[in-house]
Amino acid sequence: MRRRPVAVVLVLTAVVAAAGLVYALRGRPPEVRQAKAGQRPPRLQPDYSETVFPPNIAAPSFVVAEEGTAYVVEVRGERGEAFRAWNAGSGISLPMGPWRRLLSANRGAAFEMVVCVKGLDGGWTRFEPVRNRIAQEEIDPYIVYRRINVIYNCYTRMQLRQRSLEDYDDSVLLDNRSIGKGCMNCHTFCNNGTDAMLIQMRSARVDYGHGMLLIEDGKVSKVNTRTRLNPGLAAFSSWHPSGRVIAFSTNRVRQFFHTTRPEVREGIDLKSDLAVYFVYSGEVTSRKAISRPDRLESWPCWSADGKYLYFCSSPVPWDEVEGLPPEHCRDALYDLMRIPYDVDSGEWGEPETVLSAREAGMSIVQPRPSPDGRFLIVCMAPYGGFPALEPDADLYMVNPATGEHQRLPCNSDQTESWHSWSSNSRWFVFSTKAGDGLFLRPAFCYIDEDGEVSKPFVLPQRDPRFYETNISLYQLPELVKQPVPVRGEQIAGVIRSGEWAAVDVPVTAATPSAEPWRPDP
């Protein structure tokens, strides 16, 4: 019996010693001796080179795509201490503490990563430094996005999630399993804040109704925006900067499939119109100018000052829809339009074309002006209104005053779409299928005072090989300034219980002769 305590002590000592040995070995990087100079920078996957990082971004992890048996990366800025990361494998995770110190010491300055690889012959190669820059301006610290699979018709697994950009925290806001596998199709925030946001929701397996979830100051309410005269469900939406009005589109979307095209799916709007919802009075209204029966209007977005509603509009190119795709569907080319609006008086002006599809030579969708009003980025594709399913969709910068436009350098040969601005207008996030052409990932770009756009970088992950195995899509990324104050059961419980608030209909497009709605003084 006396031997037992001795044995326990011995085992514990051995465990502590082993842990210490592991730590000690781990704590020292391998010595790089007599490294020969590589004649080029190393290949990194994802590519974190020649780009600009926000000073509040999580440390990037990457794979050094060079053959070797040991890898050492030294990161050094113009100011502050350099630090090293190393691994026997090619996956490198930069440590968060030194990375943050590097960012804070080098705001507005450059830094470089020197990669040394021990080859199969035992000799080291020191590659040319990978150079990057750290911006002065921070990025909004969260993205809210929808995580889904590559879906066709059926959807059963969908999560609205929030990812912190300052670290790797990625949490669920709403899981559709808690709402009968319904759909959360768009989430929209007022001025990049989370005090006022909305989620469009559709029931699926269990009938909890369909409509818009308004989340204001942590309180969730359900609004059914459908009316007899405006029967479509709200889809793409935009908060007026005042927070008083929400513009939304109603879309009758259909999907069909290609037999050989690499992107199998294609979406089409058979009918779409715009309307607005008044948050305080709970009314819905529209104007003939934004809901013409002979045109497809979609993608509403308020200008930064709230004086214009940007939207996209295409003539309906078919007479009647018999089967899918309808005839001439490739003639659905959307113009970029805007219509003046006075939020105080509720007065609408006359719509004007900012950039026509004919001039651009492409269909223009997803207009998003920067919060400072200086820039307007749109997505252009050869035709149609769903660029996420178009391999040739790209982001363009448009001058709203002149209609001049230019393709942004952040585009790849695959789909780029759905961009969202940081509240300081210095950063934007967008969805890209660069590389594989299938899986949407969030990428970030810096835009300087002169409108120069940096090379994009993909969202940093803790696991260097994350993107090599991740089959979920980061869909509809939206930059926000704070975490969302409600989540999970708080939202799901409201969806599952209670009635949807019906809206009043003072005037609709179906009664165009009536005067536009005016708010109470």
């Binding site: 269990v206 037999t259 050989t260 696991d463 991740n470 089959i471 708080q490």
Partner: protein
């Protein structure tokens, strides 16, 4: 040596269990293990997730990644679900799965033994074996109750620790109770309620501490609310009812609810046993114990029940599962062998029909033998324009992915596989097929990512395959030596057509673009025969030369003879002849049909049963009338 009498404060001595009993229990456990392995087959239990999609939310998958774990950490019961997602994978290795199920049964019996002994004061001889029966019944129905049973095992384990905590003060017992309650609820959700109830019952009966029992009851009732609803913010139903019978009722689709409720009823019996049996043995002990006769009677009842449960083993579901299992593994003779065990006209036969046709094609016998098996317009290809009901679609998507990939409809195969993934989860089986389709389309990077995800799974069958494919892709990114891929590339549609194609349009498109697509040809001919469209069938026969048929397949000959009989002319057969045996059987059938012409339909069918493997028989008796209109 004589045992000393119990001292004051010590529990009374418990009579020991004889060695013979222990041997008997061991033998029963081995018998259970062999029964599970040889009769049930755990690999089929796992595969039944594909065959009975309406009973579950998906096929269990497990990935070695932090994000996969994270999804389980934020809800009560997540840990048990995480563990079962991992352990469940090994059901695919039949012997390992059987050993695991036997271990589970042993744990349930041992826990019952401890509890019954603690409540009744003497060790049970037979009663503690009763939990094996509902377990057998569940596995015999090809329903995997692993998450709920593992949660129950955990809860019972905690209860065993509680009742064996020894004589200590109420405060001490309260601490023991609380120390296990919170972690147990986090790990096993509603199963903690079973634990709390058992502790309460113990204190009310053998423990004789009523005040403590009431306190435990209050704490047991409050814990799921505090820990689950208030802290982890899950719904009350998930916190109180998670991992208990009926908790997944919302998952089961409406048509499957009666079956699901029956299965959950069996699970409820298992749970109820642990609450009722201890009270029963306590009361029996107070009334003077059970006599030898009663024990023997109990043993006989259990044996009879065991025999009954073995008798209700669901052979039809086993047959369906086996067909699907072997079809996925391309073991065609086994598909046909098992297909004969599934009665025609049952709910799942259309899927058997689809697998049989695929097996027959790959064995070069589709045109010869397809009508020797049940045929229907739905089962032939399970396509969206023919599958009659949305509730069948989850299973149809999975099978269509494989079938369409064989046919060369690569994009449509990806489509169906992605639909299947949405319905049944990102299973490595589906990821692998989608990756192969991506490779056939030249999307190497997308394929690499999908295979990378499959390689991160714990699936003992598919992980190694995915890793092997990834290794080969390092040297040959397009896997040009992969036979399945070579076939897909050779057969795939070349011209882009947008829209929704019907079965006929898709098959015609395949043939129009690649006249050597023999599978498309045979499926199109099969389609015409099933629909009784003999004109279209005859028009399509012109491709026999192009496809290099040396002889005319038997069913084609039968259809040609019927066509000739109806129109009075035999089409040009390119020098081929109708075989003598077919001509003879056709004549025999004609004679028989004429002889029994005046008899009722069923009687005629019976009289001509010797021809039930011919197209004539199908055309005359089985062709649905609505198809001929």
């Amino acid at each position: 040596m004589l045992a000393s009498p119990p001292q004051e404060g010590e529990p009374p001595a418990v009579p020991a269990v004889g060695r013979a009993w222990r041997w008997l229990w061991g033998v029963l456990l081995v018998a259970f293990f062999l029964y599970v392995r040889l009769r049930v087959n755990p690999a089929f239990v796992y595969h039944s997730y594909w065959v009975q999609p309406e009973l579950s939310d998906g096929v269990p998958v497990f990935f070695f990644s932090a994000s996969f774990l994270q999804d389980f950490l934020l809800r009560p019961g997540g840990l048990v679900e995480f563990a079962t997602a991992f352990l469940g994978q090994y059901h695919q290795l039949a012997w390992v799965g059987a050993a695991f199920i036997a271990a589970l049964a042993a744990a349930l019996c041992w826990e019952a033994f401890v509890l019954l002994k603690a409540f009744g004061g003497e060790p049970p001889r037979v009663l503690h074996l009763a939990p094996v029966l509902p377990l057998l019944a569940l596995y015999g129905c090809y329903f995997d109750p692993l998450p709920d049973v593992l949660a129950l095992v955990l809860a019972l384990g905690c209860a065993c620790l509680y009742v064996r905590a020894g004589p200590c003060a109420a405060a001490g017992r309260l601490l023991v109770f609380l120390a296990m309650l919170a972690p147990l609820h986090y790990a096993a959700a509603g199963a903690a309620v079973v634990y709390a109830l058992l502790c309460v019952l113990f204190e009310l009966t053998a423990g004789r501490r009523r005040a403590l029992a009431l306190l435990l009851l209050a704490l047991g009732a409050a814990a799921p609310y505090c820990l689950g609803v208030a802290w982890l913010r899950v719904s009350p139903a998930a916190s109180y009812g998670g991992l208990l019978p009926f908790h997944g009722l919302d998952v089961a689709s409406e048509n499957a609810r009666p079956l699901f409720i029956r299965l959950m009823g069996v699970e409820a019996v298992l749970h109820a046993f642990y609450l009722l049996a201890p009270v029963y043995v306590f009361v029996a002990a107070r009334l003077g114990g059970m006599g030898r006769r009663w024990r023997l009677a109990g043993a006989f009842v259990l044996l009879a029940l065991a025999g009954g449960i073995c008798g209700v083993h669901d052979d039809e579901m086993k047959g369906q599962t086996a067909v699907d299992y072997y079809a996925y593994r391309r073991m065609w003779p086994e598909v046909l062998e098992n297909a004969r065990k599934v009665p025609r006209g049952t709910y799942g036969y259309m899927f058997v029909n689809c697998a049989v046709n695929r097996a027959l094609y790959h064995m070069g016998k589709l045109g010869d033998d397809m009508f020797a098996y049940g045929q229907g317009p739905v089962g032939h290809m399970l396509c969206p324009d023919t599958v009659p009901d949305l509730r069948y679609r989850d299973r149809a998507w999975v099978m269509q992915g494989d079938l369409l990939a064989d046919l060369g409809c690569v994009n449509e195969a990806v489509h169906m596989t992605c639909e299947a993934m949405e319905a049944r989860g990102n299973h490595p089986r589906l990821l692998e097929l989608a990756a192969l389709c991506n490779l056939a389309n030249g999307r190497t990077e997308a394929a690499r990512i999908r295979l990378g995800a499959a390689a991160k799974s714990a699936d003992p069958v598919h992980r190694a395959r995915a890793r092997g494919l990834l290794r080969r892709m390092e040297e040959d990114p397009l896997l040009s030596d992969n036979l399945q891929l070579r076939h897909m590339r050779a057969m795939r549609v070349q011209e882009d057509v947008a829209g929704w194609l019907t079965v006929e349009q898709a098959l015609k498109l395949l043939l129009a673009q690649n006249g050597r697509n023999r599978m498309a040809f045979e499926y199109l001919m099969g389609f015409y025969l099933i629909y009784g469209r003999l004109d279209d069938f005859v028009a399509g026969l012109g491709r026999l030369d192009e496809l290099g048929y040396e002889r005319i397949p038997r069913h084609y000959e039968e259809a040609l003879l019927m066509y000739a009989l109806r129109t009075g002319r035999m089409p040009e057969l390119g020098g081929r002849r109708i075989s003598e045996s077919t001509a003879r059987r056709f004549s025999g059938f004609q004679l028989g049909a004429a002889r029994h012409a005046g008899r009722p339909f069923a009687a005629r069918q019976l009289a001509l049963a010797e021809y039930d493997d011919t197209y004539m028989f199908y055309h005359l008796f089985l062709l649905p009338p609505e198809l001929t209109q």
